[in-house]
Amino acid sequence: MSQALARVVPRRRGRVPAALLIPAGLGLLFLVLPLAGLVVRAPWTTLPQRLTAPGALTALRLSVQTATLATGLCLLLGVPLAWLLARVEFPGRRLVRALVTVPLVLPPVVGGVALLLVFGRRGLLGGWLDATFGVTLPFTTAGVVLAEAFVAMPFLVIAVEGALRAADHRYEEAAATLGAGRWTTFTHVTLPLVAPGLAAGAVLCWARALGEFGATITFAGNYPGRTQTMPLAVYLALETDLESAIVLSLVLLIVSVGILAALRDRWLASP
């Protein structure tokens, strides 16, 4: 019986239905062809000096730094929020969940304007922050982190909430029966349980933050070394020099794909 199954399974695995294979192939082509376009048009001969141009490296460093800080901020605030949504019954939970996803559907430029209306000089909190603590966020690196976190946090919250809902409640209940408080259960049972989902969410969040453009240029402006991240540099390079823009895009692409691939091998169990 088991031998019969063993013979059957590999053959059934090998036969992929055309109805799935063809659209899957088309989907892959659709995603990969534009990247191939970038690679084909890249000015390979002048690549080294364009890569080492000081402006490019500054923008790249700033991008990686701000995306990492933004991911940190999202983890700090987003994981508890995801836990709240997944584990605590409270009135209006559906509404809160919908609100969390707003930055996903909001055009990022609108997100940037919204941030200005709150944290800007004349904003709801901005004036008070400036008067009380002397903190101004627009046109600063901190502003870039804030803009990126605003746009990227929903990715983390949704991923972690999904992982929490899929996780087996019984472990947490067992911990509670053994006398663990909710905080201890959260740190010692829940977090390790959802670690893969957490890592996936963090990676997604980081990638989204790295590519952020609209909210950043609207809220934090564009100044080399301070708020000019890689996507902003790419957009401005397009104004004058298509080839420079392609090179910068490729760098951003290679760095992000490299880091994502490395993290995936390290943290995420790939089947």
Partner: protein, 260 residues
């Protein structure tokens, strides 16, 4: 419905759409009487938004049977689109540099002609709370200034004007286009920005434009040209001629442009 018949239906729809497109979008140009017909596709710089919208509706009224499609974006983006084969009839650029990108690629029909000029003003929040009267005021400590990035026409003009005035300042942001710089003024995030007079004039009461003498040193020319691969060459010629006519020039002057 099986997968194959879905595919067949989709193919049929696609074929119909393509052929329908070819038939309906007839780039006829002149009809028997020499009148202009069909669709004219105009690629125009974003700073022409208000004036060209007026000019297009006047042109359509003067030429029944003609429809003008306006594609408004940054001049450099438009120049790139044209050079990549976008089906445009006319290109109106906010700077000679972006026009040169198109002419050097051999995509222009004839020589571009300048149809308007634009100058910079200092845009300040309505009522001018900081009392800005000239470029020198922008270098005062604590005054936050937004400029356009050097790569875009308004940024290049701003650099020229600041150099002419001998004013050195560090802006808080280098915006991707003139509307971005203006938005920062409207939101009150900066105390001043260097923008075109036409943009300051179009921007309601929350923005005041302060004129300054050095702007005469950084005047921006707006060239227009019919394109070589224009689907509607007669329409393209007619539109270019109309933009240079007296009624269109009056619309441009009303928006704050200077005559060439």
């Amino acid at each position: 419905m099986s997968g194959r018949s879905v595919l067949a239906t989709l193919t049929a729809i696609a074929v119909l759409a393509l052929t329908g497109c070819g038939g309906g979008d007839d780039p006829a140009g002149d009809d028997a009487d020499g009148r202009v017909t069909g669709t004219v596709t105009v690629f125009a710089a974003a700073s022409l938004t208000e004036s060209f919208t007026r000019i297009v509706s006047d042109f359509e009224a003067a030429n029944p049977g003609v429809t003008v499609t306006l594609n408004l974006a940054g001049s450099s983006a438009l120049a790139n689109q044209i050079n990549q084969g976008a089906p445009a009839d006319v290109f109106a650029s906010a700077a000679q540099k972006n026009m040169a990108t198109v002419t050097e690629a051999g995509n222009a029909e004839g020589t571009p002609s300048v149809f308007a000029r634009n100058q910079l003003v200092i845009a300040v929040p309505g009522g001018n709370p900081r009392g800005v009267t000239g470029l020198a005021d922008l270098a005062r400590p604590g005054v936050k200034v937004a400029l356009c990035a050097d790569q875009v026409p308004c940024g290049a003009a701003a650099r020229t004007a600041l150099t002419a005035a001998g004013v050195a300042l560090t802006p808080v942001t280098l915006e991707q286009d003139v509307k971005g710089a203006l938005a920062k003024v409207k939101l009150g995030e900066v105390d001043a920005a260097l923008v075109y007079r036409t943009d300051a004039r179009a921007a309601s009461a929350d923005v005041t434009g302060v004129e300054f003498p050095e702007s005469a040193r950084a005047v921006n020319d707006y060239p227009i040209v019919a394109l070589k691969d224009a689907p509607n060459p007669a329409g393209a010629r007619a539109f270019v001629a109309y933009v240079r006519s007296t009624p269109a020039q009056a619309v441009l002057a009303g928006a704050g442009f200077q005559a060439p």
